[in-house]
Amino acid sequence: MAGTGESYLQGERGIWSWLTSLDHKRIGLLYFFSVSFFFLLGGIFALLVRLELFSSGGLFPADLYNKLMTYHGAMMVFFVIIPGIPAILGNFFLPLQIGAKDVAFPRVNLMSWYCLMGGFILAASTLLLGRGDGWIGGVDTGWTFYTPYSISFKPAVILMAFAVFVAGFSSILTGVNFVATVHRLRAPGMTMHRIPLFVWAIYSTAILQVLATPVLGITVLLLAMENIFNIGIFDPDLGGDPVLFQHFFWFYSHPAVYIMVLPAMGVISEVITTFSRKTIFGYTAIAYSSVAIAAISFLVWGHHMFTSGQSEIAGITFSVITMLVGVPTAIKLFNWLATLYGGSIQFVSPMLYTLGFMFIFTIGGITGIYLATLATDIHFHDTYFVVAHFHYVMVGGTLMAIMAGLYYWMPKMIGKMYNESLARLSFVFIFIGFNVTFFPQFILGNMGMPRRYHDYLPAYESLNRISTIGSWLIAFGFVIALYSIIDAVINGSKAPMNPWGAKTLEWTTQSPPPHENFEKTPTVTAGPYEYR
């Protein structure tokens, strides 16, 4: 057993000891580094996308723009936001919060990180596979890879399909691991009704990962085969049905959006109780609404296909089921609101990010309802309204929650406190910049500007300008955030065991935790948020 008092950061040193570490905390940090790097890349693509859209007319050739847009979307979705919270924060805190010494399968955990990296290397190598000589290649299909555009013999698409397959494998393995961990490794007394809400959220997410991702796997595999062998399953020239591809794709990719947001909601539940110093309102409601969202999310995928040529009856069915997803989400939001009531609310940056999450996610969620409504979606589909919707939920929702979680748990993860004013400054820039960037896009969508346009009519110019300027503000905010993290690592003061006065188990061990997490496996006798 590792020596008491020695933290997981101490002990074995050197790159190699990290790359072969089976400690869930170290693997969590590995994920942190790689995902941050991917996020930086995805963000640079985003800035270039916005730069091109700064004015009508344009800077880049259309093909280059299409590639930037595709890599931005694919990078952010498959390599940033899906692994994001589960693999970084989930890895680190899931075992801690249930009083376990590690995840169920540490080796599989490490393997899943390697899968993600393998996927990234494959994805990066698509850049080298062009169709011409002297041309930088790449995928230009959009992150949705709709056939038949994606199957007109494109070598880069083949590699990208494998990249997504491998990254998806990473996601499946993480999911398997977490489900087994939650089922089997809870400390004595830690019943399912006592696990923190973050664990509930990660648990529901893990179920989604196990059940949905394989269908993406087979879909991209078929896509690759379609490109290599022209098998014709999705190729109308050979009797295939391109709409069926969309069904298969969204069977995964709709649940995937809840893979992105459920863990974020878990983070919010943690942060909001801690900084209200008050027990969560409606523990069971929040916990079960996670499971409800996960379950219903499998039945709604057709709402991405209202105009695709699927049948009217299917459209109506999907529309009505989609509405049901809004209910558990509303439950969560109102329960958080009720948690604030009568609390003792402390304005530190994790809390600011959390309030920012509630503000932005509500807008994103409500616009989701506009899209779920058939008549309005016919107008909004594939316009900037959709772009604004999903950035509101993904950037304003999930990314905000990642930031909240990082600041909240940073004292525990690295044992250092961060600089509060820097962190607040980053919030201000990200929050304002975000709304400046994406709110105009709702209006653009209303006006009818389609998405994935590298050039647009002059009428759309002024709003696009505002949006581009906003993107610089967000970028600046993230640079400050990055700086504040580096600053904390170098200059941060030593963090106490429980700087926030939080109640969950991870705060009962030293900061940073020892290899074995707890000196002595804790025994749990009450719920997670007993602020009495």
């Binding site: 709709y146 555009y149 309102f281 009217e312 109506i316 058939l374 008549a375």
Partner: protein, 340 residues
Amino acid sequence: MFWFVPMAKANNTFMPPAASEVAQQVSSLYAFMLITSAISFVILIGGMLYFVYKYKRKTANDKTPYISHNHTLEFIWSFIPFVVFMVCFAWGAYIYMEMRDFKENALEINVYGKKWVWEFEYKDGRRITPTVDEAGQAVPSTMVVPINKPVKLIMTSAKITPEDKAVLHSFYVPALRVKQDVIPGRFSALGFTANKLGNFQVFCAEFCGTGHSMMMAKIKVVTQEEFDKWVLGDESGGGGKELTLADKGRQAYAKWACIGCHTLDGKPSTGPTWKGLYGSTRTFNDGTTAVANEDYIRESVWDPNKHIAKGFEPNKMPAFKGMVSEEELAALIEFIKTVK
């Protein structure tokens, strides 16, 4: 910069002015949703801000009440949103069914989405493609329809040449609030009844590659009389009139969708511009050069991958061998000569 504000005021939403009954209904539904969501947003976020202000931490060890749950509240805030959502759904589905209800007496027009032009075909065989006006300015395909007459579009995605791959497009008219994907190997339908005169923008809303953002068209709504005149007249086809060779070339330029990739005004698009092409020295990706004479142009059309113009990608331009006839080619060459 804020020119859109008055427009929004005039219309209550930022959508383009509705040009059909259904579009108006969509706007009303949208307004309803805006209001309900504004109310719920104010309740939720207003409440949040208020609580945050009111219950700001005062001392380091404030006492907080222990409230774990409340079933009545739980019920209220699940049931009310549920009802609102169901209203949205039902209203939306109702309008949607109206959109998808194709009238028996509708004017049927075929729509072909190609990489990257729209083409329309009327019952009398009149086919509308993009053209160029005398000034060399590209004119997008313009669909002419009578006012207050139901129109049914029967749409499919077509290939330029047999080797080409047809892809998805989506026919989108913001002013009519309608959109429908155009699918290869299958027909899809779209219906509308315009109730405003004027020109309305058509976009392609499904990603289809390089020319996606240029793939536009127009719908021109005219009175019934004008429409009848248009049907009899020769405005679009130019039939009957004796054409010069260059004019025939111009028609071929539109007919074979060269217009989707080659501009006449000097701007490179998917392919190089034709402005000043004839007689110039071309540089290729492998560094070699050639003078663009008749033979070069013939080769470029029939076997485009032989020489790849510098800065452009191979395999984009389909090989027109067996499609574009010798006569058409001669006309095209004549036309290219005139584009200076």
